[in-house]
């Protein structure tokens, strides 16, 4: 069982009355020698790394290699616990988790690239917030990770997930689409609604540039993960309400790639433009590399 785009994925779901996560599992089993137990176990391992990464910075302070970030997750949790969150529990938790993963990543801790290290906070951010809020089992979340994997695979196959090739829209944008689709499936949406959510997520972040200060995966990467997870939550909510997306998923993936290739070189992970090229960005770069 294999699929090459969103249309053929939905056709497989329809023909076999399967969820996206099950089609993705079938694909993995039919294309490799792995058994169902093996791939479920391997995904459970990824989930447990994600859970650890989300919690680690809350108990022990981490310092990033470049020193641009650190301590954000703990501050966010403190604000929420103090009853001062302005975005409500689920969004506050999603943001906290997403930023926590980037803290771990920037301090050379263990994370799961999803689809990349720089965008690794988005998928666990949303899924683990849903788990806490709706008391979901790990099995539910593992389904979600296979669904996220299906969307990410299609973006990787038909476009790219490399910031150097297509900017942050290809990293955080892809992660946001993956998380949105996973959330829709976990919360009972149809396969078509999953891809609707993914399509909206890419649409909303179309054109986002990759401009890391000093070339490090720290700032603005960390807050863009918070933005990516918020976008995913919005898009899942929109899709679950039954609102249809004007542009199909496959066309959004194609246009994301086209837009990516027209993003100037300076804004594709070279640290020569955007935030990296601001006066403060340049000053921080000098401090980091010449101190």
């Amino acid at each position: 069982m294999d699929f090459k785009d969103g249309v053929s994925l939905l056709a497989l779901c329809e023909q076999n009355q399967m969820k996206i996560s099950d089609v993705m599992r079938e694909r993995e089993i039919s294309m490799t020698d792995a058994s169902l137990e093996e791939i479920n176990e391997r995904m459970a391992k990824a989930l447990s790394i994600m859970q650890d990464a989300v919690h680690k910075p809350l108990s022990e302070p981490l310092s990033s290699i470049g020193g641009l970030i650190g301590g954000e997750a703990s501050k966010l949790r403190q604000m929420r616990r103090g009853g001062k969150s302005i975005c409500g529990t689920i969004l506050s938790k999603s943001i906290t988790h997403a930023m926590a993963v980037l803290e771990v990543n920037a301090s050379m801790g263990l994370i799961v690239a999803a689809p990349t290290a720089g965008s690794a906070g988005v998928v666990p951010g949303l899924l683990l917030a849903l788990q806490e809020e709706y008391s979901l089992s790990d099995e539910h979340l593992i389904d979600g990770l296979f669904t996220a994997g299906a969307v990410g695979y299609l973006i990787m196959r038909n476009a790219t997930v490399a910031g150097a090739q297509a900017g942050c829209q290809a990293e955080v944008g892809a992660a946001s689409a993956m998380a949105a689709a996973a959330a829709v499936e976990i919360m009972g949406g149809t396969p078509a609604q999953c891809l609707n959510a993914a399509s909206t997520a890419i649409m909303n972040l179309l054109g986002l540039v990759c401009d890391p200060i000093a070339g490090l995966v720290e700032s603005p990467c960390q807050s863009r993960n918070a933005m990516g997870v918020s976008n995913a939550l919005c898009c899942a909510e929109i899709a679950l309400s039954g609102i249809e997306q004007a542009i199909p998923f496959d066309e959004m993936v194609e246009t994301m790639y086209k837009v990516g290739r027209s993003i100037p070189f300076e804004l594709r992970e070279t640290a020569l433009g955007g935030c990296a090229a601001t006066a403060t960005g340049c000053q921080k770069t000098c401090q980091i590399f010449h101190s």
């Binding site: 993705m24 694909r27 993995e28 294309m31 490799t32 020698d33 791939i39 391997r42 995904m43 391992k45 990824a46 790394i49 990033s64 290699i65 470049g66 771990v104 990543n105 920037a106 301090s107 050379m108 801790g109 263990l110 994370i111 799961v112 690239a113 999803a114 689809p115 990349t116 290290a117 720089g118 690794a120 998928v123 990770l145 296979f146 996220a148 994997g149 299906a150 990410g152 695979y153 990787m156 196959r157 790219t160 997930v161 490399a162 150097a164 090739q165 993956m178 000093a214 070339g215 490090l216 995966v217 720290e218 992970e269 070279t270 640290a271 980091i288 590399f289």
Partner: protein, 222 residues
């Protein structure tokens, strides 16, 4: 494009901060270590492009040395690889080459020496998302990813050598997934790279080595 697994998307499990600059670097160095075998005594890394510019901030140096120490991308010891390399008695050096720009932006040359007096130079490229490609062995341009078990035979460019390699594999019931041949010049040194989905038994190496034109055989198991 090769097969994209769900674990290429939700993965690799890795020590941060960058799939291309950290995880990819560790994978390249681990492949180089597996190729030379034995105990590594000395290693010199030459970094190009983005690797050369940003290696400190991405822990690329620790990740490379970690790979030489045998660490996978998710091994937390990568963070302490400078200290661990010293303890293991491995001499190491990092150089940068920013003059040569006609290379992939994330390229590293790794020169290795082991305790069996063997030396080897490997060039690797980190192609994004943790995926890597070995593109040069010593002076010869090659291509293999380490995603499959690889048997690398260094031999004279003479008739019958390749036939002998495939015969030895067939005798040991190894199925060839991919096979490619690279050479310096006609009649000079050639590299045959065979990739297989399964583990390649060690005895294949010994049988291939019996051929008079074979100089060395390296095995990189998945």
């Amino acid at each position: 494009m090769g097969f994209i697994s769900v674990f290429d998307v939700i993965g690799p499990n890795m020590v941060g901060p960058s799939s291309s600059h950290t995880a990819g670097a560790a994978s390249i160095a681990l492949l180089a270590r597996k190729m030379i075998g034995g105990n590594i005594k000395k290693v010199v890394f030459t970094l190009y492009g983005s690797f050369a510019k940003t290696y400190r901030g991405h822990g690329t140096d620790r990740a490379l040395l970690g790979g030489i120490l045998g660490f996978d991308t998710d091994n937390l010891n990568i963070k302490d690889s400078f200290e661990l390399a010293k303890e293991a008695g491995i001499e190491y050096e990092f150089k940068t080459n920013e003059k040569e720009t006609e290379v992939h932006p994330n390229t590293v040359d790794i020169e290795l020496w082991n305790d069996e007096d063997l030396s080897l130079t490997v060039r690797g490229e980190s192609r994004g998302g943790g995926k890597v490609m070995i593109t040069r062995i010593n002076e010869v341009e090659v291509e293999f990813t380490g995603e499959y078990s690889a048997l690398i035979t260094i031999h004279k460019d003479k008739p019958g050598v390749v036939a002998n390699i495939t015969k030895c594999l067939s005798d040991c019931n190894v199925n060839i997934a991919f096979m490619r041949l690279f050479r310096e010049d006609k009649g000079a040194t050639a590299y045959s790279i065979v990739e297989s989905d399964e583990k390649i038994p060690k005895k294949v190496l010994d049988e291939i080595k019996e051929n008079q034109y074979v100089q060395n055989v390296m095995l990189v198991q998945i």
